[in-house]
Symmetry: C2
Subunit: 331 residues, 2 copies
Amino acid sequence: MSDRVTIKSIARDLGISHMTVSRALSNHPNVSEETRRAVLARAEELGYVRSAAAKAMRGDGTRIVGLLLPTLVNEFYARFADTLAAACEEKALHLIIHLTNDEPQKERQALLRLREVQAGAVIMVPAPAAGEGEDRNLRSLRVVQFIRQRPLEFPASALLIGDGPAIEDAVNHLVAAGHSKIGYIGADPVLSSGRGRLAAFTEAMEGKGKTVAAELVRTAPPSFEMGCRSLVSLLEGKRATAVVCGGFEISSGALEACLRQGLDMPGDMAFVGYGDPAHYAWINGGISTISLPVNALAREAAAILDRSMTGDGEGVATITFPAAFLKRRSA
Amino acid sequence: MSDRVTIKSIARDLGISHMTVSRALSNHPNVSEETRRAVLARAEELGYVRSAAAKAMRGDGTRIVGLLLPTLVNEFYARFADTLAAACEEKALHLIIHLTNDEPQKERQALLRLREVQAGAVIMVPAPAAGEGEDRNLRSLRVVQFIRQRPLEFPASALLIGDGPAIEDAVNHLVAAGHSKIGYIGADPVLSSGRGRLAAFTEAMEGKGKTVAAELVRTAPPSFEMGCRSLVSLLEGKRATAVVCGGFEISSGALEACLRQGLDMPGDMAFVGYGDPAHYAWINGGISTISLPVNALAREAAAILDRSMTGDGEGVATITFPAAFLKRRSA
DNA sequence: GTGAAAGCGCTAACAG
DNA sequence: CTGTTAGCGCTTTCAC
């Protein structure tokens, strides 16, 4: 097979200088119409593509954007990635996805790899702890922290969810329905999101004159498995009659556990999930949940990226989107 | 901010030649231990990362892999991407995801962009039609066609699903349950997958002495929307009493339509979906479906990639994984 | 054990 | 309007 088609090969081919070819292909004015047409024709015919590597080496910037997510098997993250990918498509950005599984070590690896390819920006759900000054890897990148926020030594944008009021609504609803043993399963408070949600839950409970029993609260690194386990354990001993979830995967896991146990919701257990995958509307006649504006988030993320990549630069922003309590059958 | 750290900047820094630095960083034997340590220390301190662009320009190959999917909002594709991404993480490959929405034009764009960054391989769910000889874009890439297959002018691997027997099982089951007006909603027969599934359905029906009524068959470019519409239309006129889906998104859409209409399954309509997202087990007491080995598929895809990237090269293979009919409550 | 040169594909900055 | 040169970061080849 023929070698890579380059401006030089085209130039040789046409008996002209590679500079002329470059100019023709870049719509530079100083090229005769005739030459330009010849070059364009030949390039098209040979299937020429500009080498991104060469461009990058000249410091023109790759148009690479990184996306770090804990997982894709979760309708919220999948939708976010989907919408973001579509936006990247439009803006001709290359989207590299890395899954961190919320492990700092994997996150570090991923960021390293993004630096190798000189990604211009990253959107990331930061993992719990980053080790000592490891955030160095983020220096050369424009960073958008998504969902959670970790203190960094330099400016970074953040795209967060204001779920406090929604969680409060959920608690109020449960209390009004007569529940007093309300459990909570949420992300580890080391995570900013976990901290915030637990605080919202606690405040809401106290606002209603209920104390938050430690036995009815489960927090740990968030995962499907953790959600399952926690829900099961809330059914033992000082049994909770209602539960509020504070995390996407946790919610899926806890729900799965409820279904596996054949619990009637809200009969046996009032259930409030987190995130609103399409099937929540249909399972058990409807799962009540904290619903989040995924698409708005993704579009905003894309907008931030766009601003980043066009180099306007300094627009570091923290934006919070409100969540809402969606009442269905399960609570 | 300091400029990019390069072997040259480190060399200058240490008062040695950039070649020595290069050697030290590549574990070349011909470097004194002392020098090597000094270089490694400085590199670590400054947070040096090898420039992927420079490597690529030397023809060392980027370790970039492309993944083209119609969408990510679909548990099957999301799981596939997730497992594949994890595998890429392990093998230090960069995974670039492009969503095509099954539009040839978007597919073409995506492939073009992958050529720009000199991706080494692509795993793609090929879109319907590629226009005239547009497959040129695939020339420089190692291609793995996934789910569907399009004839190409050069060798390419394929990772397919053998769903014929599973579809036959589904039909047999429905017939045994007394259904004769069995509808089918599937992908356009221009797609190899659509063709195969429709053929399997037809053969199974005929094998049972049933004729396939054209009014009970819906085929079109597969999408959630199409699934919805088709299901609704099957309820009109010469009403189907059962339906078999032949596509992931189609299945989700059709199911949504059933639920929205409040249909009892199998009471009002026996339903066989396609693909097995976790919630199928819980909706309506269980959705019967054609279940596919997602993880095995993804792992095989990763294995093929690995073979591709390590350059063994000529290992072009067509692998078919069997699907299975999973009987639950809905049919 | 170390270094200098060359070249990968491209474009900015100068010649002509 | 067109061509030459230089250099982005790196490694291979060939000196020393």
